[in-house]
Symmetry: C2
Subunit: 325 residues, 2 copies
């Protein structure tokens, strides 16, 4: 009995110890992991010159290519394409209008070239007229049924385990974590809480306008075919200001679309942290940067060197890429 | 010694007991206070048919006339007027253009008639070109120095103690509290955290556009002379959708500008709560409703009767109106 108790205590200690000592279990020991831990310890240690009160521990994360994959196309673009194909019989004009024509002809290159605005045009056309509740249902159904062509898994399972661990580690240290994405705010909110532990009110994204109406005496909010806000590049710090009203102390991205968010974040007073995920792993995910149509990482990579932002080498720094099936 | 210990214990018990049993200490016992407590107990008691998980306990509050006074004019309008007078020498055209002319001639009736849009026009004209940090400083200085003409106290002290207690009571019961105001989002954020315990990221309001710029290599966000969003009437449920992405289960207002927010909130499934503060106390605050230029309460009052929303009678229901000096 005595030996068993000692073993149990030792076992319990190890479990507690391993949780406490290895918060980023899927990260290899290396400069990226080290820089994250050093930053978090500096801003959370009372009496440290870099200490930041809990209320100001705001961390913002891009989504596409930072928290989940974005190849062969932004996942929301694939969703919008599926939706456009479904609605195409009611819109013969789409056969000769871009970016709809590209969708109906499966011309991925033309689509990729249409960028965030292309995605939003498709989302706008295919979702205007839906109430917010109808949209939620359509998006949820797609996420539950559609599968990624390469991995044959639902898209919402292609989230990066090391980044999910990073979100948890920051929250365990008093941070409030936000998504700041070029993607559609309502689409993100359908899965962000379950996938990342980020509630809808901490999701910032691009949006189309919406209006309040009474339908048969029941109030509804209806999505309108008009752009409201593009939360990309220069739009990211503006979106952060509108939604959060406080400058983050840490920002995480992977492309030139995140450059201004990292500039804005790291230019604040006191200790700040910027990080870029670099896609270097063609085996387990994809390898692309300066010349990519999607998630181009060029100017931001140059600036990372000058500003001392952490650059994650996916192949080197991550033990595992995706969350377990 | 023994008697003293007993007294100390009894005293300690009373203090703890009074905190636990009287969360809304400045509210008189009556139907309004009762309805609040019944609602909160119903949605927070596990196993209750009305139980709501913590993540969905969203409560939204109007600000002007609901959390602080709004007479003789919206306080932000007085701030904008002071600012317009300060800048007037640089704008001779304001002498003959409304609503500027009304400001320079102290014509309060013309100003009140200009409504939320009037406020925003003044804010827009007087604040465009400022960076977000410069605006914060200007607003903070005004709040620290300007005094209310009737009470000779700083405006941010004319917040309603019973409502501040209500915010705390809800948060103590797992609610996330938001401001949803027709007033300017950046102005509200300057004082909401200190006055109400509501952080900037939980403030929703009207806004002008902003843009990201580099000034001498330093990133700044600059306020632009263009309307972005009017968070009033039909705009309130839309603003709630954009910022929170989840329908509140409780909403608090005081005027017809809050009607759609209360409709949207109380039309959701499950137990919901709507409350209107009615200004009935000319002695301690003001008395106005159906015919007022500011904070008109007419249609929403009729609907409160039909929908069973709680109507607070300020004179009857509140022991104290303002927070202590």
């Amino acid at each position: 009995m005595k030996t068993r108790s000692v073993l149990l205590v030792a076992f319990a200690f190890c479990v507690v110890h391993s949780v406490a000592a290895e918060p980023l279990a899927s990260w290899n020991d290396g400069p990226a992991k080290q820089s994250i831990i050093e930053f978090v310890e500096a801003v959370t240690t009372e009496g440290s010159p870099d200490f930041v009160p809990v209320a100001e521990r705001i961390a913002t994360f891009d989504n596409d290519g930072c928290l989940w994959s974005e190849q062969p196309l932004y996942f929301q673009l694939i969703f919008a394409m599926d939706r456009v194909k479904e609605l195409a019989p009611q819109h013969p004009e789409w056969n000769t209008t871009q970016p709809f024509q590209a969708v109906l002809e499966d011309d991925h290159e033309a689509l990729a070239a249409s960028g965030v605005e292309g995605v939003l045009t498709l989302v706008m056309a295919s979702h205007a007229g839906l109430t917010t509740e109808e949209f939620d249902q359509v998006a949820r159904e797609w996420l539950d049924t559609a599968k990624h062509p390469r991995f044959d898994r639902p898209y919402h399972e292609l989230t990066f385990l090391p980044m999910v661990e990073l979100l948890e580690y920051l929250r365990d240290n008093g941070f409030k974590t936000f998504i700041v994405s070029g993607g559609g705010i309502d689409f993100l909110r359908v899965f962000a809480e379950e996938a990342y532990g980020i509630p809808p009110e901490q999701v910032i994204g691009s949006s189309i306008k919406a209006s309040f109406e009474m339908r048969d005496g029941v109030p509804v909010i209806v999505k309108q075919p008009e752009m409201n806000f593009i939360d990309d590049k220069e739009g990211k710090p503006v979106g952060i200001h509108q939604h959060i009203g406080r400058r983050p102390i840490a920002a995480f991205g992977n492309s030139d679309g995140d450059l201004q968010m990292l500039q804005w974040t790291t230019a604040g007073e006191g200790r700040r942290f910027g990080l870029l995920v670099r896609h270097t792993d063609a085996e387990r995910e994809w390898a692309y940067d300066r010349d990519s149509h999607i998630g181009k990482l060029d100017k931001a990579l140059d600036e990372a060197g000058k500003k001392g932002w952490t650059v994650v080498d996916m192949a080197e720094d991550w033990k595992t890429v995706y969350v377990p099936e």
